[in-house]
Symmetry: none
Subunit: 193 residues, 4 copies
DNA sequence: GATGAATGAGAATTCATTCAT
DNA sequence: TATGAATGAATTCTCATTCAT
């Protein structure tokens, strides 16, 4: 299962598009094969089964996603700057791949246990990035210590998630990234006077 | 049809459980019928099709959910108190019906357009409750006016959603409601010093 | 199963219409019940099952049909006149009940053996009427004796049947009865010079 | 798809038999698949749906049927001879494929509109053959000009149809073809002295 | 490796019939 | 008699997966 071979990539890219357009359950393997210009059977040389396609798509895409985010953050100094960068990268990358946004926001919310387990494994490393920023903030004495850091992370991720979902649901009609600073402000300072 | 007839309720309750256990797509109509102690065909006397079951379950349950929330909030004075009550009610009610929590957190994220449209209609009235609290806060001069109220709502809902999802994913091993005040504090004041 | 009770008639009449409109297989018992203004279950007080409705409709209607034909023929003297009357009655009666025409021409051609057996039993007495005309014609020395009388009957009935079917298929757009004399001429004299 | 592939033929032949034995409505797709020695799903690689099987069977078989008839007729000179040949071919071919006879005589009288439309399209080209014979007869001054040619055609087809139906209903106990000349005589000269 | 025809398990839905009221 | 809610057997069609070429 050499992942460098062109067919593997073709299938992954085709799968993202087909799933974004039709949803996971309405995405027949034959449809993905057609869009990828390979035979149905070929899919099974690269993926164990249909579920494996979804997981692989997510791992693959989310891997790049995280890598880029980590890299961008590493260029910033303070936790505050890093958080802003994190938010910006989140919005920027999903804006650039609306297909991916649809897949992550809607299609990955499957409750099939095995599927979720795999998805969460990948998601966890993304959440770890947030955790590390919070940790640094605590060390820098910038973040309040009387709050459960897990809750902070859940607020950050939940807010990003919801804003992206809203954006996807509204057919991506406005520039997501424009919200980054306001969201950053909102998260760090709250909305009460 | 007549929503008071016992079979209707039986089917709704059975559907919630079966969907929570298996996910919507793995929930065969025959499984729901069996759990509801009715014949397969009986389901179709009360629901147009399988999708209609999901929508009806959601409308039915979310309706009660919202009603209770609205009632609880109406007994509070200030926007701040109301928000806390909102959070508490959200956690309390989902804690009491973990099946429902699973259905709402995971199964409703379907991307099938007609399905989403119906779901969003119901969800909207829940989001309206948040909006009305924010509006009151602005009138009471308690909420900062330089922030997009929609973003505030997205942060509130996103945070609640994510904290519940985390709780569901961790098999509901801790009392959700205990987080209410801390989350309220976090949302209103942010986490930065 | 008193056939004089009003519900029996209501159901028969409703059945003729529903079957003519939808075809036998698409005619749900519940549809017939609705049109007859009775409950589904009531049907089964008067008919053994759905098939029995079809057969009863046919017997009932065809019975009248034959009675009227026999009566009309009995008023004529010669075989030749009787045949013309037969043709006229056939066309006249089916013209007056287009529903019945549709049912007899299309819906009764079911090949389900038990069904056909019953239908043929009724049809036979109609064919007997033709046979008796032919017999009289032979006795009157008006009909050629070197032809198999059965074939003659098949030609007569086949021709009537086909002309009615054509008329039904063309949505009954012309007056069927106008053809009677020409068909009579054609049958008795053939079309060759 | 490719009509030369053996499975296509297998399914067509199996369908003719199964439909002849059970009637269209009682012919489950699975029964046809079994008799054709293919999997149920394979049927759907070659046919759009169950209805498509019936139409295809008819087109396929009737196509050959008509071709042979046309060929046989073209070898005859006069309209009179051609008509005799037409009758002979009709009887001969249906005698040789009693299954087909049953299907055409009984099963194709479906009133489902889309189905009939397709069937009539094919049937029409058969009726056209009769029409062309009549036309030639008129040109040769052999057929009476004061009769509606459409009626002549209806008499010819109706008579053939009815004689075949009778033969089918009587379980094909006599040689159909023996009647050809008598029927020809009957049609052209009528039965009156 | 690549193909794509073939497979067949699986699932939603319909509707004739029953039977408690 | 009459009702109509409830039943559940029956059937079409889909689509992930296999495997001979």
């Amino acid at each position: 299962m050499n992942k460098d071979r062109p067919k593997y990539r073709q299938i992954i890219e085709a799968a993202v598009e087909v799933i974004a357009e039709n949803g996971y359950h309405a995405s027949q393997v034959s449809k993905i094969a057609k869009k990828a210009n390979v035979a149905d059977g070929t899919i099974y040389l690269y993926f164990k089964n249909k579920e494996d396609i979804l997981i692989s798509v997510f791992k693959e895409k989310m891997g790049h996603f995280i890598d880029k985010t980590v890299k961008a953050i590493s260029e910033k100094e303070t936790a505050k700057e890093k958080l802003l960068t994190f938010i910006q990268m989140h919005y920027k990358q999903l804006s650039e791949s609306p297909y991916l946004a649809i897949v992550t926001q809607l299609e990955l919310r499957q409750s099939k246990p095995e599927l979720r387990a795999e998805i969460n494994k990948v998601l966890k490393s993304y959440l770890n990035v947030i955790d590390s920023i919070i940790k640094q903030g605590l060390e820098e004495n910038d973040i309040q210590t009387d709050i459960n850091p897990q809750l902070i992370r859940q607020m950050i991720f939940g807010t990003l998630d919801e804003t992206v979902t809203t954006w996807v649901m509204k057919s991506q009609r406005y520039p997501l990234i424009d919200q980054a600073e306001e969201v950053h402000q909102l998260l760090t300072k709250g909305f009460f006077k």
